[in-house]
């Protein structure tokens, strides 16, 4: 965890809350299993749980741990639940829960993952079974996993349709796949992928100068090994 930078925590309720000695509890989201929050951005020094406000109701800086894991499933990332309690002045016992909110993000960026089922053109018999892509969306960045797919060419250009609307880029994006097959042989230089704004992918062999209308040989063609590529969703 040495290189982890914590996620700043803000009170999610836009309150003029100034509650002396209030208690702020942190849990694994939707549970009552305590999960430490930290005093420093590098998540080295945990706060006690609950974190206490001072006599004026002010909390110290709080950082959430993006590496926090499910206590029941190692390696599974979790979000936080934050609960704010006022206290009894006499015995400091919790009196009222002012909020109890799940899904406080432990990560700074938005994350989403899914599968995209699609169809190829350019094959005499479409390899439908290999047409499913997996994607991981990190805010504006998409990591697209393209499975290996090879089949007999119908001597037309190789395309795939279509990406879900949520991961279609605002402007055309380009990626590269190093291992490809054309005319039943390894394609030196692999192939490129043009990711269009309508969600269509156009492939072009990279053994020669760029041409979107290439890849029209006969024989076996396709992506020789699974590969991953990155692209950005928008420019602003």
């Amino acid at each position: 965890m040495a290189d982890t930078l914590g996620t700043p925590f803000f009170l999610p309720v836009q309150a003029q809350l100034a509650i002396a000695r209030a208690k702020l509890y942190f849990y694994e989201t939707t549970t009552t299993t305590g999960e430490p929050a930290y005093k420093d951005v590098r998540c080295k020094a945990p706060h006690p749980n609950p974190v206490r406000a001072d006599i004026r109701g002010k909390f110290p800086p709080i950082y959430l741990n993006p590496d926090a894991e499910d206590s029941g499933a190692s390696g599974v990332p979790i979000n936080y639940t934050a609960q704010l309690d006022s206290i009894d002045d006499q015995d400091e016992a919790s009196t009222t829960t002012l909020f109890d909110i799940d899904d406080i993000p432990s990560q700074r960026e938005n994350f989403y993952t899914g599968a995209a089922g699609g169809t190829y053109t350019g094959f005499a018999a479409d390899p439908v079974a290999s047409g499913n892509y997996t994607y991981y969306q990190y805010g504006r960045l998409v990591n697209l996993i393209l499975p290996a797919v090879s089949a007999t060419s119908d001597a037309t250009n190789l395309t795939w349709v279509t990406l879900p609307a949520r991961i279609r880029p605002a402007v055309i994006q380009y990626g590269h796949i190093p291992y490809a097959t054309d005319n039943s042989a390894h394609l030196v230089g692999g192939c490129t992928v043009q990711i269009n704004t309508d969600g269509q992918l156009h492939f072009a062999p990279a053994d020669a100068g760029y041409s979107e209308t290439g890849w029209t040989n006969t024989g076996t063609k396709g992506i020789a090994a699974q590969h991953s590529l990155w692209y950005r969703l928008d420019d602003g």
């Binding site: 836009q14 989403y112 969306q137 504006r140 990279a206």
Partner: protein, 222 residues
Amino acid sequence: MSKGTPFFLLEQIAIDAGAALGGAQLYFYQTGTTTDQDVYTEAALSSTHAQPVVADSGGTFADIWLNPDESVDYRVRLEDSDSNLIFQVDNVPRYRENFESGSFTVTWAGFSADPGNTSCSWYRIGSVISLTIPLGTGTSNLTTFSFSGLPAALVPDSAQYLHFPYAQDSGAHLAGGAVGIISGTVIKFAPADVAYSLAGWTASGAKGIETIGNAFYRLRDS
């Protein structure tokens, strides 16, 4: 469905003003417009707030989540209960991560006649850089090929490696393309048709990047 982006008031309002903000109204629009844009009551984005979101009598708003799947950022407008403007801010990001973009002018080396394009675009997404380098071939001067001018803000902590599939050497397509190595403010290129060597790319004739290339690299190692 995405998880939402938590919304925080952009201006710190004095605690003593709490009572004065009783019934205050928060409006959310598409940035730069008065077109409503939904905000949500929870991170899962399954339940929308009414527009405007209204504070309770103590000036407290319920929690508010923004939707990263919207196509544009938000405009936020806060009015008191009598509809007097308190603040209005555009470009409130719908994403959680930092984003900025820009361009810079590259200076080519390795050419007796430089490639004509010199504008390089960049997009910074958190600590990941997406670099769109200019296409263009020029005439080789028999020395290795590089460009300089990377702004200091885009210099990575350690050397980063990029790949561009369409390149040209000695007037012909270079099967395997080119690799770019970022070292300080300079990107040095190596042909990928043979084993790695930064000393390559010294033939005569036309050389360079054949088509626009885009590559990602990390800015920080920690």
